[in-house]
């Protein structure tokens, strides 16, 4: 996505302008271009760049809303406080855990769903595609409630349905323990966002040349070989886009945790930590510092992906 090539811009009629400088026509086109695209550009900067700069500024102060008179410039102290606090590192590990688990499962599951949608009988294909879109349409909060109620010790049916699994009994409290809570959070996230990944992968599958598949088939390649040697290498770009978007999205996990555990039992994510500092404890300075750190981590992830992506593209082109 980042290596986007712009569409071949159609040249307008030849202009009889002097060779030096820009012609009147292209100058007015430039002007019009920025006139039209400018507002969107300015709004995007205003709603993101400005707040993040504000956060950077506020993160340098010791500033509590409950005690505004004692606002004081303390430099990088807030960052030091956070980075030496085990709570921050716990939030980081929880977030990384959720991201890695959900994205890995979603990639495999989403790929399977995409294959079914691509190859299914034409009679069931529309039904499958419609069904896939339903989790996409459901808001995250509602999905979180559905999963929470299902596993809840009082309202849920999971315990009575799955009592045959060792370790599950009528009074298994899924939200009483860290790993079990995280498992349910991951399940809810996976259910909600797999459709997005599978639609991107389906679009990627459509771009794999049929000719190559046929050729591999004629050469006697098995289904498995064709999958690994033909299909997947040809849809690398789609896979990378899906991975990048979902990883960044998963790293911001907040809604499900808020609904299901409220951050109890060590299930707090980085977003949740920032929320708790700012809104519950009104520690604007510390909360801003957490926000800035989260922003930096997200930038780092995006940067790593894009770097890896470029290397990949270069090597495939080199073949």
């Amino acid at each position: 996505m980042t290596q986007t090539t712009l569409p071949p811009v159609k040249k307008t009629e030849p202009v009889s302008a002097p060779k030096r400088g820009l012609s009147d026509r292209s100058r007015s086109e430039r002007k019009l271009g920025w006139l039209l695209a400018g507002p969107a550009f300015v709004v995007m900067l205003a709603v993101t760049a400005y707040p993040i700069l504000q956060a950077v500024y506020e993160s340098l102060f010791s500033y509590r809303l409950t005690d505004p008179a004692n606002r004081e410039f303390t430099g990088l102290t807030n960052y030091w406080v956070i980075l030496t606090d085990p709570i921050w590192w716990q939030a980081i590990w929880v977030t990384v855990f959720i991201t890695v688990v959900t994205v890995a499962v979603e990639l495999v599951l989403g790929f399977g769903l995409a294959m079914v949608m691509a190859k299914a009988l034409s009679s069931i294909r529309p039904v499958v595609r419609a069904a896939i879109l339903i989790p996409y349409a459901v808001i995250t909060v509602v999905s979180a409630f559905a999963w929470q109620f299902a596993f809840d010790i009082n309202t849920g049916f999971v315990n009575s349905w799955f009592a045959w699994i060792p370790g599950v009994t009528a009074d298994t409290d899924w939200f009483g323990d860290r790993w079990q809570s995280l498992l349910v959070i991951c399940l809810a996230e996976i259910w909600k966002t797999t459709p997005f990944i599978s639609l991107l992968l389906l679009a990627g599958l459509a771009q794999v040349p049929e000719v190559l598949q046929e050729a591999a088939k004629v050469d006697g390649a098995t289904w498995w070989q064709r999958l690994w040697r033909v299909t997947i290498p040809n849809m690398k770009a789609a896979i990378m886009v899906a991975l990048l978007f979902r990883s960044l999205d998963a790293f911001r996990v907040f809604d499900s945790i808020f609904i299901m555990t409220g951050g109890a039992n060590g299930t707090e994510s980085v977003s949740f930590l920032a929320y708790r500092q700012t809104i519950a404890r009104l520690e604007i300075g510390l909360g801003s510092a957490v926000s800035v750190l989260l922003f930096l981590v997200v930038v780092l992830i995006a940067f790593t992906f894009i770097k890896a992506f470029k290397v990949d593209l270069a090597s495939t082109r080199g073949e």
């Binding site: 986007t4 569409p7 459901v138 349905w161 980085v270």
Partner: protein, 277 residues
Amino acid sequence: MSTRKKVMWWIGGAIIVVYALFPIAWIISISLKAPSDIANGQFLPSSVSWGNYETVLTGDASELFLPALRNSFGICLIATAISCLLAMFAAYAIARLDFPGKKVILSTALAVAIFPVISIVTPLFNVWRQIGLYDTWPGLILPYLSLTLPISIWTMSAFFREIPWEMEQAAQVDGATTWQAFRKVIVPLAAPGVFTTAIIAFFIAWNDFVYGIVLTSTEAARPVPAALGLFSGASQFEDPTGAIAAAALIVTIPVVVLVLLFQRRIVAGLTNGAVKG
């Protein structure tokens, strides 16, 4: 295709449908359970009760739910309209005009799309309180643009690129004025892309939770997801599970219907913007 293979596909399809529908079916089931039934450990209610819907629509919880529903509709529609309008101009410029900085605009949109919402919301909380935007409609509409604008720009420029712009000139050659050519040729071709983008943008705004919960405090602006998240029952001693399920279903059904009606376009919009970009 052999019968065995056909049966396999049918089973596979059925599994997917059940997987996609199961949590919804469960919410429906809870919303129809009477309070005595909620903790029965069964999937289905033992008898159907509409009490939860009454609580949410006319009863104790309606004071929380109905204003939230109104806020959500109003705020999301306005945010969608603004971002579609801005994105339409930008996408037209990107698809049609030759000017330096196209790449900058598209990369900015990408960067904004990956921005962690919580990083924006912390400073906004403080600033909004100082300038009086806290707990107001504009106080949510503005930040919602950070969610809806990037995807609108990407999706719409992907759609707009596929419009054969030469037709506009052809119409002009045939004697149409510039405005007529634009109005009669380009607008009808662009309309489906704009419409699809609007639906996707609306969903994204409708799904927001973080802004809603941090930047509002009363029913003056609190949207549905935040109201649901903070709903703790009409009284302290009442378990709100059934009411939450009913409210959740009320906000889910219209959106699901919309998605199913326009599924073809939504799939095209989601994947065009991202894969072809």
